[in-house]
């Protein structure tokens, strides 16, 4: 009798623990995939299917010298610039205020969508954080640029 009770209690306990864990796992699994943001180099992005919404992606590279244009439209700040690796140049459009350390000839990561107009529409810019950080080797491979651009960033939304 006592033993039976104890076994039942154990099952109830294990069951409720399992239920909690399963509920959390369900929640986590559901939002995990949706919130994964993949990182690409400008060269890789060209092979991507363009899309204007849905899952965002990140592109990292160097902000090309002389490419940064600031404009204002109805009190909204707009930025247009080019992010590049050794081979490919990608035009980026962003509305809002960039982070502190964002400027030309520096590494930056942008998050958003590669659109059909062949412009990357960014809604987040991340600039590299440490100014003593070595610049991306421009003669290096795309992989090299990717390895370096992804590091040390600060986000600005």
């Amino acid at each position: 009798m006592n033993r039976l009770k104890r076994t039942r209690r154990r099952w109830a306990l294990a069951g409720s623990v399992l239920l909690i864990v399963a509920a959390v796992a369900y929640l986590a699994a559901g939002s995990f995939q949706a919130n994964l943001v993949y990182f690409h180099t400008p060269t890789e992005i060209l092979q991507k299917e363009p899309r204007d919404s849905g899952p965002k992606i990140r592109v990292g590279g160097m902000v090309e010298e002389g490419s940064l244009r600031r404009s204002v439209e109805g009190q909204k700040m707009k930025l247009d610039f080019v992010v590049m690796d050794g081979r490919t140049h990608i035009p980026v459009h962003y509305e809002g205020i960039p982070p502190d350390l964002f400027k030309e000839k520096q590494g930056a990561v942008v998050e958003g969508w590669w659109t059909k107009e062949k412009v990357f529409k960014a809604d987040v810019i991340m600039a590299k954080h440490d100014e003593n950080y070595m610049p991306i080797k421009m003669e290096g491979s795309a992989d090299d640029a990717r390895a370096k651009a992804g590091k040390t960033v600060k986000e600005s939304r």
């Binding site: 209690r9 409720s16 986590a28 990140r58 440490d130 590091k151 040390t152 600005s156």
Partner: protein, 661 residues
């Protein structure tokens, strides 16, 4: 080279040599404690002296590094990279732990202080555990000293020495930042004491439950430091980074949160072992997990493998070494646990699912699920890159989505756990303790819905928070009243007496109230933040959440080692001036890039938060404004939690020391 300068330089060499000697002594401590074991007191005594020696030598080491910073000895590479002549003295000292190399030395130094303190405190009372305590702590120090001396030495020279150094990263030049890393590290290394005691219990197989009692205060102390460290980090992010928030689920923030979550679970579940002798194996596993996550935290921050505000360079060697240390730690400790677990098996079991024991069990389930959620999100990108070569990151919505329901569940338990009966709660017990608070909570929820609150999570938060507050208040009131009647004092006197008599319980209740305040602040700022970003010229104005903000002028200003442009804004509510806000954009003399300095006007209900950014030639300046509701409650809640922790720490040991040799 002038004579005086040669002497200052010599001191650092002495410090370097001291660190090398410390490594030797740490090794001696490990070897003598394990080899001598419990059978040979002379060896154990030698081990304890080695621990003292390591502490003394590392203190000398740190002192020599501080001295190098204060005397501007730029022939030291680390000093040249992290300081310069015009850096304020305060930050010169902070720069000791401002970079990779120094911070690791600082970590081991703190660890050695904890080790020495633990040996001193428990030498007489815990002679059975002592050899293992010394051995485990010395082993950890040996590992980290190898890392410091061979892979990340702050004593390296730069020849020829530059005339001036670079700078301490301007972002780190903030009083909050000065305190954030030391407290975090104190928390990390603090858990080494309970960890070492747990290992001692396993190795000796004799210590039984004694380690839990012996380490109660150590655990609370470590938890306190870790909490304070995280708290300062969040404040720093809010006041210094200028993005209007305090927590971004950055991998390095997660790195400090994981040991905190596991440590909190441990803190709660040891109480069950103390009172009811349950969860004995579980607690050992928890403390191993907590300390391992502390080391993982150090690894994530210091290896530079994660993209983050805190990771400043990449050195695979360092990361690999910490990873190896972590692997050794996990294999050794869990291995021992598996082989020795039989000796710790409890002879009692849970009586009912509706009991305080099971409330604590569910507390652990929630905290560990939370830990695991963060762990997956933090490590998945590393695994994806290592295995599949894709670079990927996990967005903040993932964490928020999982964490909000978990947090609500934990809050419910926070109300139920301290009041529900041990073993098996009867219906009358449940009614007596929970009926009124539950009704109050539901009433408050209905009220909130009536005034227009519609979102499900905020509504649930209101219900649960009022319920929890109700349980705490009614419990305190009932106990204080009966005490007051018995002793013939006033109600307030009764309250003071029950708190004094049971500091641990009521200190814990104070901590819980602090948590409630903090959750209130997080719920408010997380759900109801308003934001506006515009380009403005002096004379322009805008409104945000009912506040009219006008841009008066832009001017220049300067500090000891920076220059800045400063925007002057006036905030009005219904025409009355409520604040003048002056956000800055600083350029530090040594570093070219501008830094944002937010202007914040705080009240109990909301923060008005304004930052300025880039200038667009001819068009004006970029301005970003936020209204963050209830943020100040987060900081207030942190203060209340700290107060509660201090009350808890004053609780004396209430059980006799069992472990006599």
């Amino acid at each position: 080279m002038p004579h005086a300068e040669r002497e200052t330089r010599l001191f650092l060499e002495i410090g370097h040599f001291a660190a090398i000697l410390a490594l030797a002594f740490a090794f001696v401590g490990t070897a003598s404690a394990f080899a001598g074991g419990p059978r040979n007191p002379a060896w154990v005594r030698a081990g304890s002296r080695a621990v003292w020696a390591v502490c003394a030598l590392l203190t000398l080491s740190i002192a020599s590094l501080v001295y190098a910073f204060l005397t501007n000895d730029f022939s030291v590479k680390y000093v040249a990279a992290n300081s310069n002549r015009i850096l304020p003295t305060f930050y010169k000292i902070a720069a000791v732990w401002g970079g990779h190399e120094g911070s690791l030395l600082f970590w081991v130094w703190l660890m050695s202080v904890f080790a020495a303190a633990a040996v001193a405190r428990h030498w007489r009372t815990h002679s059975v555990s002592m050899p293992f305590l010394i051995g485990v702590q010395s082993a950890v120090m040996t590992g980290f000293l190898v890392l410091v001396l061979f892979l990340s030495s702050p004593f390296e020279r730069l020849i020829p020495a530059p005339a001036d150094g670079v700078d301490l990263n301007p972002l780190l030049q903030d009083p909050g930042m000065v305190l954030h890393p030391p407290f975090l590290y104190l928390g990390y290394v603090g858990f080494s004491v309970p960890f070492a005691f747990a290992m001692a219990a396993l190795f000796s197989g004799r210590a039984g439950d004694e380690w839990v009692l012996a380490t109660r205060r150590w655990t609370i102390l470590a938890w306190f430091f870790l909490s304070v460290g995280i708290f300062f980090g969040a404040r720093w992010a809010y006041y210094e980074l200028g993005w209007g928030g305090y927590w971004a689920w950055d991998p390095v923030e997660n790195a400090s949160l994981m040991p905190w979550l596991a440590g909190t679970a441990f803190l709660h579940s040891t109480m069950i072992q103390e009172k009811r002798n349950l969860f004995r194996i579980w607690n050992v596993a928890l403390v191993i997990l907590t300390f391992a996550l502390s080391i993982l935290g150090t690894f994530l921050v210091r290896s530079g493998i994660v993209s983050s505000v805190h990771a400043f360079a990449n050195d695979p060697g360092r990361g690999l070494t910490i990873l190896i240390l972590l692997a050794v730690l996990l294999v050794a400790s869990f291995g021992t646990l598996i082989f020795r677990a039989e000796r710790l098996r409890a002879d009692v079991s849970l009586d009912s699912i509706v009991s305080r024991e099971s409330a604590f069990l569910f507390n652990n389930v929630f905290f560990l699920t939370a830990t695991f959620t963060v762990l997956v999100g933090t490590l998945y990108p590393l695994a994806a890159e290592a295995i599949m070569g894709t670079k990927v990151s996990v967005g903040a919505p993932y964490y928020n989505k999982v964490f909000v329901p978990l947090m609500l569940g934990m809050l419910v338990l926070m109300g139920v756990g301290p009041l529900i009966a041990w073993r098996r709660a009867s219906i009358s017990n449940l009614k007596r303790n929970f009926l009124a608070p539950a009704l109050a909570g539901i009433g408050a929820g209905a009220g909130a819905a009536a005034v227009g609150m519609r979102e499900i999570y905020p509504l649930m938060a209101v219900v649960i928070m009022v319920f929890v507050l109700g349980t705490i208040a009614s419990d305190a009131y009932k106990s204080a009243r009966s005490r007051a009647r018995r002793d013939g004092v006033s109600l307030a006197g009764g309250l003071a007496r029950i708190v004094r008599r049971n500091k641990r319980r009521y200190g814990g209740m104070v901590i819980h109230v602090g948590v409630l305040l903090m959750v209130l602040g997080m719920a408010g700022s997380g759900n109801y933040q308003t934001e506006k970003s515009l380009v403005m010229k002096p004379g322009d104005s805008f409104t945000i959440a009912g506040y009219a903000i006008s841009f008066k002028e832009i001017r220049e200003t300067r500090g000891p080692n920076w220059m800045a442009i400063e925007g002057v804004f006036e905030a009005r509510n219904d025409g009355t001036l409520i604040a003048e806000l002056r956000p800055q954009r600083r350029v530090y003399s040594r570093g070219g890039m501008p830094m944002t300095e937010a202007a914040i006007h705080s009240t109990l209900t909301r923060d008005l938060y304004v930052v300025i950014g880039d200038e667009v030639p001819g068009q004006g300046i970029a301005v970003k404004a936020y209204v963050n509701p209830l943020v100040q409650w987060i900081w207030a809640g942190g203060g209340v939690m700290a107060l509660g922790t201090v009350i808890v720490m004053f609780q004396r040991r209430r059980y006799p020391v069992k472990e006599a040799a």
